[in-house]
Amino acid sequence: MNDYVSTALAVTVFVGAVRIGTPLLLAAIGEMVTERSGILNLGIEGILTFSAFIAFVTVDRTDNLVLGVVFGALAGVLVGLVMAVLTVTFKVEQVVAGLSLNLLGVGFSFYLLRAVFDNAASDLPSVRTWDVVAIPGLSSIPWFGEVLFTQHWLTYVAFAMLPLVWLVLNRTGFGLELRSVGDAPGAADLRGVSIERTQYAALAFGGFAAGLAGTFLSIFSTGLFFPTIAAGRGWIALAIVIFGNWRLGRILAGALFFGYLEAYQLTIQGQGTDVPQQLLLALPFVLTLVALVLNRTRSNVPLHLGVPYLRGQR
């Protein structure tokens, strides 16, 4: 027992929590912004997979990590815009559109993987990854330095996004428009706000953030790609937005919690344990459900979430 407790408190587990929580945080922030505009994008898992793949291929072919990030993020934006075409322009049911993008995102990645790497699934290359960036000075603070300031630069970006997104949502005209479109598109429309442009922008940002998250999975933390690389993170990000009650602070807490959970599980697995590995692997998904059952505050849910806006049909 003692062993489990000391592992739970080990610095390395917290370091891992922040690292593993990064893609969850990125994807959840993006999804929260998208949902605030009234669009439920269920395609996050597909975006993670697709952008992880694009970033991986880019680095494999060009050996250029910066390009990997750029193309990975753009891949996310692309899928986000496809979602926008489907749901905003064509008013396809959002749940259906999101699901189909999941299937398509994974399918495309799988096909292209086989096409690009000549069916040689067994010996896929691994690629270079970004190194951890220790922030001078701050990284020498005991505990915090290691946990918070010796991470990938994309992790810092993810954290920096929190205040930025908050400011845009709450302190700019665009943010006001975006929130209004999600709560009362009829009101926003009659006020001259373009519903379509706002939702396109929100979906593009959501795709961008999820694209970064997918990029993180392949060319920051592993250097690998396999079709199940997202491993449910897209769905957990969706759940985080729900029990985060569409608030950034609680979304951060949720992302770190699940990051911690996985880091802990990986660590004790590495140490060797009697607990079956499969039960540990199932744990995050069970806990997601538990969290949704225990925390049922949905006071901030955008009032028009998931409902396509048709002018004149109010």
Binding site: T172, G173, L176, D183, A184, G186, A187, L190, R191, S194
Partner: protein
């Protein structure tokens, strides 16, 4: 009249929707500094015309001129930029946001929000029109009267030359209407033009300078209000001379059918809850429930039909306690119900007409035997109802979505009046119907009453209640705060009761203010300084 006098010209505008011509070659001119009324029945095309002026619809034919310039609005944004503002019948507010944010929306650009300058200008505007308003409270918690002011402020903030008000009095008490009209006159005196959409005669004659009457999408005529009287306007509006029907004799009631005692639904203080309703309705009676909407009428309807459980109190129908019974069991007791919203409460729009006619009885004979549907019974019932009620549908199994409002209501009536119910509960039964369809519904209700049914008519259209009911209870803040036995004679008292004033001596109409500082608390009867607008 010179070109310069005309602010907005409508020139031969035709607007079509699938299956209907909403506006047919409409031409009219709105003068500067005038109140212009668009008068017409439901479905006459008033709202479409107004929304065309506001850029919501684009005409199929014809055009608009604003200040002499030809305009082609593609969206409300264009209209706003020209200085046209519109307050819709159904408010278009972002309820979680404050008044300031609602006003700022779409006016400040995409960049940094400067809410303080919005606040300053708003405070000024509120001062000009004597509106007391908590600018930082979410507008969703404001009473309806104030929400309307938020809408008006939204347009005034932008500095409009033309303000369009679509049925602005629907949710107001008679005193609230007076207050609004006073503000409208003031706006006119300040040089604004105001377009007022209405189907109520006394509103037209009370406030407008000119009136355009629309019928079936066409302009009947545009006249100076002072040159016509109400009877003539009515004739123009309906297309034939109508005798404003004097109330017929009400037959003698029979035994009590519905008894409601101390009914509480929802939490006290919650918007639209019921806080102890007592009510008895006899057979062969139409009992009207008047009141500004939002005072618990929906909760009362839902509790009577079994959709919402009572928190306390009891409801007896024909002597039977309905506690714990759902809609199907209550309906089996001989209760028919017509909810306010046909599309979101009464009809499955993607179902066939025949299937909708069975809803609620779909598990019972003849529609269903041991869980299996009997399509023949569906079909037979549908043909019968289509004949009896003259429902215009391509066929008994046709999808309901394509039918007009009047025909939708016929389906609901046919279903709910089937089997001669003892109690009929109707909520806004003629809302949105044209004059003949509404008349149809009213005559059905009278026939049901004469058959011996007890009818509970819940409506915020006071004229409708007065024209049908022999007894009227007025709902205010979840209670029936007064009952009137001779409704037509006591119209004024009903108006006061709707505003929450139970003692006519304490509050003269001119003292009534739009202030709502004490809406939730206190006994409204003691609060003689303010009209307490519903919450």
């Amino acid at each position: 009249m010179t070109e310069d006098d005309i602010l907005l010209g409508v020139h031969g505008v035709t607007t079509r929707f699938p299956g209907v011509i909403a506006n047919d070659d409409v031409s009219l001119a709105i003068r500067r500094g005038s109140v212009h009324c668009l008068l017409g029945e439901n479905g006459a095309g008033k709202s479409t015309l107004a929304e065309t002026m506001y850029g919501v619809h684009r005409p199929d034919d014809g055009h608009l001129r604003f200040k002499g310039e030809r305009i082609d609005f593609r969206s409300p944004r264009d209209a706003i930029a020209c200085g046209i503002g519109m307050v819709h019948q159904h408010f278009e507010l972002v309820t979680p946001l404050s008044t300031i944010e609602n006003v700022a929306l779409g006016t400040t650009g995409k960049g940094w929000l400067d809410l303080e300058s919005v606040r300053a200008k708003l405070t000024d505007l509120c001062g000009t029109y004597d509106v007391e308003l908590d600018l930082d409270a979410p507008v969703g918690v404001l009473p309806v009267g104030l929400q309307q002011w938020v809408e008006i402020l939204k347009t005034m903030y932008l500095g409009v030359d033309l303000l369009i008000l679509d049925e602005p009095t629907a949710a107001l008490t008679p005193a609230g209407v007076e207050l609004l009209f006073a503000s409208i006159r003031r706006m006119r005196d300040d040089g604004l033009s105001v377009i007022l959409i209405s189907h109520k005669m006394h509103e037209v004659t009370g406030v407008s300078d000119r009136v355009t009457v629309l019928r079936k999408g066409k302009v009947v005529d545009t006249v100076d209000t002072s040159a016509v009287d109400a009877a003539e306007l009515t004739r123009m509006m309906v297309g034939r001379s109508v005798e404003l029907s004097s109330v017929e004799d009400h037959p003698d009631p029979t035994d009590s059918v519905l008894r409601v005692e101390g009914l509480v639904v929802g939490d006290a203080g919650e918007r639209g809850s019921l806080n102890g309703v007592d009510l008895t309705v006899e057979g062969r009676t139409i009992y009207g429930i008047a009141g500004v909407s939002g005072n618990g009428q929906s909760a009362l309807f839902d509790a009577l039909v079994g959709v919402r459980p009572a928190t306390a109190g009891s409801v007896h129908i024909g002597g039977e306690d309905i506690a714990g019974l759902g809609p199907r069991r209550i309906s089996a007791l001989g209760v028919g119900s017509v909810p306010a919203d046909r599309i979101n409460q009464a009809l499955l729009m993607d179902f066939g007409v025949d299937e909708n006619l069975a809803l609620g009885r779909h598990r019972d004979r003849p529609f269903s035997i041991r869980g299996l549907l009997r399509r023949k019974a569906f079909n037979a019932r549908a043909r019968e109802a289509i004949d009896d009620y003259e429902i215009a549908t391509p066929g008994p199994g046709h999808i309901t979505r394509v039918l007009s409002g009047g025909n939708l209501q016929k389906i609901v009536m046919a279903r709910e009046l089937e089997g001669e119910p003892n109690l009929i509960v109707v909520h806004q039964p003629t809302r949105g119907l044209d004059v003949s369809a509404a008349d149809n519904v009213r005559r059905r209700l009278i026939a049901e009453r004469d058959r011996g049914a007890a009818v509970v008519l819940i409506s915020d259209d006071l004229d409708e209640v007065l024209s049908l009911a022999s007894r009227v209870g007025v709902m205010f803040e979840g209670r029936i705060i007064g009952e009137v036995d001779d409704p037509v004679a006591e119209r004024d008292r009903i108006g006061l009761l709707m505003a929450g004033v139970t003692d006519a001596h304490e509050a003269a109409a001119d003292q009534v203010g739009e202030d709502d500082t004490d809406a939730a608390g206190g006994d409204p009867a003691l609060d003689d300084e303010h009209e307490v607008v519903n919450t």
